[in-house]
């Protein structure tokens, strides 16, 4: 295969717990191409976050292996950016300093990246807020800071774990538009985890559909809707068909909450 950004081979993850072990992921295999936007949907507890933590190098696999750009994942690495469900900002750092956190940690040189940070903040419409503290920002603004922080060290790929899960519906749609815009500009490989099927279809080139626990991938849907996709695309029959097809899989397999 040519230029695989992420490759997962027969991956199984078992959590050892006191009352027996929990199989979170079972025999998962997939691959994601360079600059591809892939969404993962699945019911709660099916192991989506587990998958992301393994790819981020935060968790070891039980069996099988995962590769990022051809090299085996054996720990955290510097060419990825992670966005969690919560913004996870540091309250003692200003917005700008929060964005520059990866730069500080990885010793990339503040001077060189401050310009880039300001440009990125402009990209997410947060110019003018760089010297504010996180608590002065709304939830959506904080999440945009988190996205900016994930981009500052110019990682080859972005891993996002339900980044808009805590936002209200309107902010969420707005953030989807912004994320699409950023992606069109930066063309990173993105693995985007979500509960929402419409969100997945709206954003992704491909949607991986996971089964309930133990999670494995039951379908891989390619979304052929031209970009940039306006919000109105959600009202078209083509879009509805994608959502329907994916939702049907959960109905057969016993439901997706929400």
């Amino acid at each position: 295969m040519v230029s695989e950004a992420i490759a997962v081979r027969k991956l199984t993850k078992t959590y050892a717990a006191r009352q027996g072990s929990v199989v979170a992921l079972e025999d998962i295999s997939f691959s994601i191409g360079e600059a591809e936007f892939v969404a993962v949907v699945g019911p709660s507890g099916c192991g989506k976050s587990t998958l992301l933590k393994i790819l981020a190098g935060l968790l070891a696999t039980t069996m099988g292996e995962a590769f990022l750009r051809g090299s085996l994942i054996s720990g955290p690495r510097r060419d990825i950016g992670v966005v969690f469900q919560a913004p996870v900002l540091f309250p003692w750092r200003t917005v700008l300093d929060n964005v520059l956190l990866p730069v500080d940690v990885q010793g990339l040189g503040r001077q060189a990246h401050e310009r880039a940070a300001l440009d990125l903040l402009r990209l997410v419409h947060l110019d003018g807020f760089e010297h504010r503290y996180p608590w002065e920002l709304s939830g959506g603004m904080q999440q945009r800071v988190a996205i900016t922080r994930a981009l500052i060290h110019d990682p080859a790929m972005l891993l996002m774990d339900e980044p808009f899960g805590a936002l209200d519906a309107m902010t969420r749609e707005h953030m989807n538009l912004e994320l699409q815009r950023i992606w069109l500009e930066k063309r990173k490989t993105v693995l985007f985890i979500t509960h929402s099927i419409p969100e997945a279809v709206f954003l992704a080139d491909r949607v991986l559909v996971m089964t309930p626990r133990p999670g494995c991938i039951m379908d891989d849907v390619r979304v052929n809707i031209p970009r940039p996709r306006p919000l109105e695309v959600m009202n078209t029959p083509g879009f509805g068909e994608y959502v329907r097809v994916i939702r049907k899989q959960f109905n057969i397999r016993g439901g997706l909450d929400g």
Binding site: Y15, A16, A17, S49, K53, A56, G57, L58, L59, A60, S74, G75, P76, R77, R78, I80, V82, F84, Q85, A86, P87, V88, L89, F90, P91, W92, R93, L101, P102, D104, V105, Q106, Y133, W135, E136, L137, S138, G139, Q142, D161, E162, G165, A166, L167, D168
Partner: protein, 342 residues
């Protein structure tokens, strides 16, 4: 503004009335001076003591003992707390002894310390430090440990070294706790110094009180007590100022105690711009603080200081979101968390 003025007037009036009543009662019932002196007599004693320079000399000694003990005890508490928090090994072997030592009434130690360190300054400083160190130890420990697991994950995902996680995350995160610890430690140091002076000293306000007790100079004692409480208040204020400087980023720091007559609103109708911003934030409704941390801190801190820390804690817990909880430190198996009990 109006309520503030009214409150000020009320405060002054209340003060005058109670002092006046005290004076009147003492005069009316002709209570002997060696049982309860009238405010006028206390004021007189205070004036005599201050103008002769006697009080200032002893005040200086006590202040020096307190400050030295505070610095020494706090530093000790901070470093021990850091060691216990960062190393399971240290915790396992040493923490039980530290707790055992803490359960000991320090007053009972003072005579021994006097034998070991003599009647001079050293014994007072040591005693003050011993009393002051524990609140700092516990708070530092809890503060360093309470770093939000999602933030730790974030740091790790950036390939941060453990030392970077300590300096960039755990230490700043512990600061509100440390400041609350300093607050208690300062008062404890004063208590420690006075207690040691009671047991045996050549100078200091505690020694002064005791010698006045022998001569039945009760108004003198009252005047020294007054000085001591003002001293305690001032020291506390100093810590408060320091705290404001250090925790400028902590929004809960800026919440002034509400004056009487002002009801605090919750929700979008709140008065300040900040609270409005907070109410608009969906991810920040307040929840109860971490139960474990609360229990630990409460057990050793019987003044009300933990409110700030709790608010901070509540915020952290909240920001962690629902999902982040799944990976509590003990369950984060895998590559990085390989600390365990020896």
């Amino acid at each position: 503004m109006k309520t503030n003025t009214r409150n000020l007037i009320l405060t002054v009036a209340l003060f005058c009335v109670s002092i006046g009543t005290w004076e009147a009662v003492v005069r009316f019932f002709q209570i002997p001076q060696f049982i309860l002196p009238a405010p006028s007599q206390v004021t007189l004693a205070l004036w005599r003591g201050l103008s002769s320079g006697l009080y200032l000399r002893h005040l200086y000694v006590t202040l020096l003992e307190t400050l030295l003990g505070f610095v020494l005890g706090s530093a000790l508490g901070f470093f021990l707390g850091t060691a216990v928090a960062m190393s399971r090994w240290v915790e396992y072997f040493f923490y039980p002894y530290i707790v055992m030592f803490q359960s000991l009434p320090k007053v009972a130690l003072a005579p021994l310390i006097l034998i070991w360190f003599g009647l001079g300054l050293t014994s007072k400083v040591v005693n003050a430090a011993l009393v002051a160190f524990f609140p700092l130890l516990v708070n530092t420990m809890v503060g360093l440990r309470s770093a939000d697991e999602e933030r730790v994950s974030l740091m790790r995902s950036l390939a941060a070294r453990d030392s970077q996680i300590f300096w960039m995350l755990r230490l700043p995160n512990a600061l509100p706790f440390v400041m609350a610890g300093l607050d208690v430690a300062m008062i404890f140091a004063l208590i420690g110094a006075i207690v040691a002076e009671f047991v045996g000293a050549q100078s200091g306000l505690g020694m002064l009180i005791q010698s006045m007790n022998f001569t039945m100079d009760v108004s003198g004692q009252f005047s020294v007590l007054l000085i001591l409480s003002v001293l305690g208040l001032l020291l506390n204020r100093c810590i408060l100022l320091l705290r404001r400087r250090v925790l400028f980023w902590d929004p809960s720091e800026k919440q002034q105690p509400q004056p009487l007559g002002k009801v605090r609103h919750e929700g979008p109708a709140a008065c300040s711009a900040r609270s409005r911003c907070r109410a608009a934030d969906p991810g920040r409704r307040r929840h109860g603080p971490d139960q474990g941390a609360r229990r630990l801190v409460r057990a050793h801190d019987f003044r009300g200081h933990d409110s700030v820390r709790h608010r901070h804690q509540a915020r952290l817990v909240q920001e962690r979101g629902n999902r982040g909880r799944a990976d509590s430190p003990s369950r984060l198996d895998g590559l990085h968390d390989q600390r365990g009990h020896p």
